[in-house]
Structures are given as structure tokens and as C-alpha cells.
């Protein structure tokens, strides 16, 4: 803001108006960009380099062999069923997103906009569960899932993650800010309870829903422990499990192969981010400022 005023105030060339502060902030921004981007770039280079070249000769600052990288990708695709793992992870993420959004928004609609007996204690209880580490509940949840006969099934993978306390919190906070008059107006027009939710509140909550969908995607894509124990059949492995085979401490693979498996896991979230980056960043910004 200040800069704009100074710049228009002066009739001299643009260059002479560059202050020390300008130099400083550009330098900082570029440094941070390097720190952020380089590790990811480096991973790509490790993959696309002939294996076995010492680092002293080739420090992996840029890719040197496309063919070598492609061979590794092909090898992993051939030997691990990576494509099917993509499908499993996608299905897991999308079904979870759909469920979290639907159940969460229905419940949030009530918790945020209406009063009914038992609302406060119930909501408090759900919020308290945010503080329990997952490791506490994982075995009883697993035993229950097994009892239902859901081991190695999609419903076993997805269902336990649907009632997201965090998602509810986010949506309730957002819906609290909706104008109450609109709901009253709709009710006077003769809309039924569910219609108000579906036709009035849901469209207004779109931004929050997008945020929640993004956060849920990131969480399920990286989720490791739950798929590990619930999907024991190799034909149903998710991406994180397949990568786990390579990341295991006793895995007998070399660095470049391990990195290839990891890079393949990073591609969908990176693509997702590149396509939706504005929405993602703005959605997350919104979630925080509502808190």
C-alpha cells in the first residue's frame, strides 16, 4: 500500500524508487521459495538419475537421465499394482469426503442454528474427542470393524472416519455466521426443515465445504496406520501402504527406487494442488479466521 503511494508521488524512473526494504523482501521471498521447493525438486532429480553415480560427481541438482527414472517408474508399476493402489486411495478419499461433508453438514446445521434438549453436552462430548490421540482408539475400532465383517472392505476403510469431529467444528463455526433471517424467511415461505438445510443453508456453506473437502483429502491420502491394519489383502493396498513397502526400515531397495515410489505418491496431491490452488488456499484461510 505504502509503496503505491510513494511510487505515484515520484516522477522518477521505477528503478530508483527501489528501497532497501524492497531488496530485502525480494531476497527473503526468493530464499524461502528455494527452501520450500528445492527438497521436492531434489527428490525428482534423485529419481531421474543413473543409480550408483557418487554424489561427489553428480550432486543431483538437476535430472540427468530421463530413461533411468522412467525405468524405475515402469518397474514399480509392474511389480506393485500401483495403479490399483491409486484407485483404492482415490476411492477412499472421495467416499470419505462425500460422507464427511454430508454427515457433518447435516449435524452442523442443527448444532449451529437450532436449540434442542441435549445439544450442548452432545456437542461438548464430540469436541472433547478431538483431544484423544487416534492410537488410543485404533484397536477397539479395529475389533469392532472386524466384528462387523468389514476387514478388507471399502466400508471398513471408510466408515470409521466419517464422523469427523474436526469437520463438524469447522462447519458449525461457519454456519453460526449465517444470517438467521434467511432461515426464518424460508420457513415463512413454507419450506420444511430438510428443505431449508438442502436449499438454503447448504449453498451458503459452499466455501466451508470446499475447505473441509480439501483438508479431508489431504488427511486420507496420507493416512497410513488405518489402511495398514484394516486392509490386509495385498490386492486392496492403498498408495500409502505400497509406499510403506519401500519405506520399511528393512526394505532392500536403494535410495532412488524408494524415492520413485514416494514421488509417485506425491503426484496426485501435487496435481490436485496445482489445479485447485486458489480455492485451497482461500478455503484454508477462511477456516482459520472463523476460528
Amino acid at each position: 500500500m505504502t509503496l503505491a503511494i510513494e511510487a505515484t508521488g515520484s516522477r522518477r524512473s521505477r528503478w530508483s524508487s527501489i528501497t532497501a526494504w524492497d531488496l530485502c523482501r525480494w531476497a527473503m521471498a526468493i530464499c524461502v521459495t528455494i527452501v520450500v521447493v528445492f527438497p521436492i525438486w531434489w527428490m525428482v532429480n534423485v529419481v531421474f538419475t543413473e543409480p550408483g553415480t557418487p554424489v561427489s560427481i553428480n550432486p543431483r541438482l538437476y535430472p540427468t537421465s530421463f530413461a533411468a527414472g522412467w525405468d524405475k517408474v515402469a518397474m514399480i508399476m509392474r511389480e506393485t499394482g500401483y495403479l490399483h493402489a491409486y484407485y483404492m486411495s482415490m476411492a477412499y478419499a472421495l467416499l470419505t469426503i462425500a460422507g464427511v461433508l454430508l454427515l457433518g453438514s447435516m449435524a452442523a446445521f442443527e448444532f449451529a442454528l437450532f436449540e434442542f434438549p441435549g445439544k450442548r453436552p452432545l456437542f461438548g462430548l464430540i469436541m472433547l474427542s478431538l483431544m484423544v490421540p487416534t492410537a488410543v482408539t485404533i484397536i477397539p475400532t479395529y475389533l469392532l470393524t472386524a466384528e462387523l465383517g468389514w476387514i478388507n472392505t471399502m466400508q471398513g476403510l471408510v466408515a470409521p472416519g466419517l464422523a469427523s469431529a474436526f469437520g463438524l467444528f469447522l462447519l458449525v463455526e461457519f454456519m453460526k455466521g449465517l444470517p438467521k433471517e434467511m432461515i426464518e424467511a424460508a420457513r415463512l415461505d413454507g419450506a420444511r426443515h430438510f428443505q431449508i438445510y438442502w436449499h438454503v443453508v447448504l449453498p451458503l456453506t459452499r466455501n466451508a465445504m470446499v475447505t473441509l473437502a480439501i483438508l479431508t483429502f489431504m488427511k486420507t491420502w496420507g493416512n497410513f496406520i488405518w489402511p495398514l491394519i484394516v486392509l490386509s489383502n495385498a490386492e486392496k493396498y492403498t498408495v500409502s501402504q505400497v509406499v510403506g513397502l519401500f519405506n520399511a526400515p528393512f526394505s532392500h531397495q536403494t535410495v532412488d527406487v524408494v524415492m520413485t515410489a514416494n514421488l509417485l505418491a506425491a503426484i496426485p496431491p501435487l496435481l490436485f494442488f496445482l489445479i485447485f490452488q486458489r480455492k485451497i488456499v482461500e478455503g484454508i484461510a477462511m477456516s482459520g479466521s472463523k476460528g
Binding site: W42, M106, M131, V132, V136, I139, F250, A265, I284
Partner: protein, 296 residues
Amino acid sequence: MTMNLRHLPHYLMVLPFVALFAAFFLYPIVSGFYYSFHDWNAVTEPHFVGLANYERIVGSRDFSRAMWNLVTYVVITVPLGIAVAFGLALLVDSFSGFWSNLFRSVFFLPVVLPAFLAATIWRWMYAPNFGLVNMVLGWFGYPSVNFLNDTDTMLFSLIAVDIWVSAGFNMVILLAGLKNIPVDLYEAARLDGASRLQQVRHVTIPMLAPVLFFVMTYGLISALQVFDVPWLLTGSSFTNYGGRQNALLFPVMDMMGRAFGSVRFGQASAYGFILTALIIVVTAGMFGLRAMRSKP
């Protein structure tokens, strides 16, 4: 009866959520609590042992080590992480238009990577001798540092990764908070002769307080449950975890090890409840602090 009928639609709407919540959170938590008083290997009949699990954990050397690590880690990583995020937010805010959006997206990039991926990349970046970090140090004539295997550097290596991963997330939230601060407040401050730094101190920070509170509370709760990044950085397995001299041993790691490594699920549950209690106390403390500060 009429009361109930009037509220029925509300209950029907929350029912799906509450039913799943009860089945997959409440029931496991309650049964976990039950098992925490039992010697239980997840298969044979649980055997009641009273408080023995709790006593055993609190008396174990791994617990004291894990708690000490956790406290040091949280005390450094949460404030430092927020300071970095705040700095980045101010930096991005100082640009406008295209550059502002670009830097914002770039700084956010690590957040979208799965945690296991970030940990794996950094494990290699930190590798002694040929890891990238050591290579850069080598260019400047420094000897190779064994970041992940030297008890003096391990915790800081973890914190650096942690900030690399999470700074973008907090930055975006803080940035939105910054944009919501009315411009005239800065103008007023400038008219009063406040320098850029003074503006940050007297306008930005107080106006950002609610957002900072959110970021800090959320950061605290997740930092107290830290697990996958140190687990992967130390190449841990259920039978061997925590890194050299347990310098990166954290409660959730110890809990997972006791569960799947030693098959002591009763003990692991008890561990979980000790940690839960700690998280609740810390969060309640945060809310208490906010309540105190908001009173004049």
C-alpha cells in the same frame, strides 16, 4: 410428547453423525478406558490389574524420556512455527497482486504433501556425507553433521522439518487475518509516528489475537500428538524406535511400540489416557489464558 415431536427433525438430522460417532469414537474410547485397567494382549481375556498399567508407565524410563522430549519439542516448535508463519504472512502481505498470490501458493506447497513423504525426503536431505544439507555445508567447508543420529541435533532437525511442513498452513490462516485488519488503523498509527515495527507490535498483533489463538491451540494439540514424522525420520519400527538414545522418542511412538511391539494393549491404552489428560489440561489452560486476557 408434543415436545419430543417438535424436536424430532433435529434429532433425525444429527442421528447419522452421532450414530457413527458413538460407534467409532465413543465406544472405542470407553472400551479403551476399560482396558487401561487390565492386562490385555488384544486376544486373551483381559485381566484386571487396577492402576498397575498407569503406575508402570509413569515409572518407566521411556515415559520420562518421551515426556521430556515432548515438552522440549512443544515449547520450541509451537512458538517458533507460529513466528515463522507470521513472518511469512507479513512477507507475502508486503507483495500485492500476482506476486502475492504466487508466493502464497508456493509457501503452501509442502502442506499438500503426505507427511510420510516429507519425512522421507528430509531423511535423505539430512543423510550424513551425501545428503543435500551436508553437501551444502561441505561447499562452505563445514564437516558433515549426522543430523538424525547426533543427540545434540536430532530434536532440532525434527523441528525444522516440522516447520517446513506446517508453516504454510499457519501462514495462510494468519494472512487472511491480516487482510481483515482495517487499513485506517495503520494510517492512524502512522500519523502518530509509529515505525513499521511499532505498527506490527501495536496494531497487527492485537488485531490478530483471535486468529493467533486458533493457530496456537490447534498447533499445540497436534504437536502433543506428534508421531509420523519422528517415526519415519528415525527409521523406527515397532521393535526399535525413538532414534539414538531415544532422543526422538515421543509418547505416541512409545504407545504404538507397547501396543504392536510388546503386545501390551492395556498399557498402551493407559498411556493414551495419560496423554489425553495432558492435552485436555493444556487446551483448558489456553482457553483460561484467553478468558483472563479478554477481561480488562
